[in-house]
Point group: C2
Amino acid sequence: MTINVDITDDHPLAINGIRMMLEDEPDIHIAHTYTTGAALKKGLASQQPDVLLLDVKLVDEPGSEVAAFITRNYPEVRIVALTSLDAPAVVKNMMRNGCIGYLLKGTDRSTLIETIRKAYYCEEFLDPALHMHMRHVLSPSNETPELTKREKEILKLIVAGDSTQEIAEKLCISPRTAEVHRLTLLKKLDVKNTAGLVRIALTLGLVI
Amino acid sequence: MTINVDITDDHPLAINGIRMMLEDEPDIHIAHTYTTGAALKKGLASQQPDVLLLDVKLVDEPGSEVAAFITRNYPEVRIVALTSLDAPAVVKNMMRNGCIGYLLKGTDRSTLIETIRKAYYCEEFLDPALHMHMRHVLSPSNETPELTKREKEILKLIVAGDSTQEIAEKLCISPRTAEVHRLTLLKKLDVKNTAGLVRIALTLGLVI
DNA sequence: AATCTTCTACGTGAAAACCCGTATTTTTGA
DNA sequence: TCAAAAATACGGGTTTTCACGTAGAAGATT
């Protein structure tokens, strides 16, 4: 039995690091590695791995959206998020989008291997480093509402520094409407001002 | 002749990746590796490398400040920034704080080795991937003003979501003064609103 | 067909942010 | 030591953001 593993990380160095950790395992085979979400999607079209190690921050699109895409189109691929981000909202976001495991990049070799084997058998695994704080976060009572397409659009413009007026002009909508979206974002992301929106958007990888 | 190299990166995986790239070079010896700025500073107190590979984003403090600290206290250490950030302002910031080289994490093995050797002989080296766009950026006519200690303090609070009023209370200064600092930041960083401040601060690693 | 969500649009008012100044004290550095 | 830079504080004004509403149209889902 051989577990085929794909790796997607925008840092070739990180890919090398993972490869080094796995190369002595006879039952784990690194099939393909990708550095962008686009390359990954293209590669998956022709061949799917058993387990995919997926970075949360990619250069071309948010890892959460890549995960959602894969879950929708290739549900048999077990996705393990592998990242340095340990914010509860990030973990929540990735798990909700179909990841079966979540590892921090500070993980050691044996944990990485164990996680891959568990993922292969469709067993969920969270990094021990965040297990403690995550249980209540991942409970249904603590759901971060998902953002709509429009809201993500607005959020990107806010991060880019556009005012409500400018957003309205760019999207050809009323300033009132743009403002409503802004206020909805404040509530959904549970922050109180623009600074919070930008910070959340950047740290959660909601925008590129 | 052996070049002693230290590596500081908050991702152990990245450290492994770098180590793998360098382990077959007889003249390069990896002396110490660190995952935080604090650990690096502590280690440097007892032993300094010839060349330090330094990530721009660390968990405990901005890489630019670590670079400034090392340049001030251990000027004989040649610092090579090694990061995935390719924004002109980031490069500028690191070079100004004493780095002699700047590599992107997408770099290949031979470039990494060449850069380390050049750094050892105090030769400057910028990643070819950004060489084109950087020349004019690094010219003296295009200087980003440095932020004062107080301004960095204010900036952190802004990123944290505090209003001018709240900042004034926390720092025990007049709201007017807090506002002046905010406006100074807008001008120095050449953005037009709070969203821009937060974005710049986070992408440049000015705050943690 | 009915329902739910999303996107759209509007009103009002308070708070915050932003832009133009001036000016004193403290700190830094040449 | 003397000049420059930084930190402090204030006035008056416009623009933007934020909070509290209501409500119709389009689309998806059940």
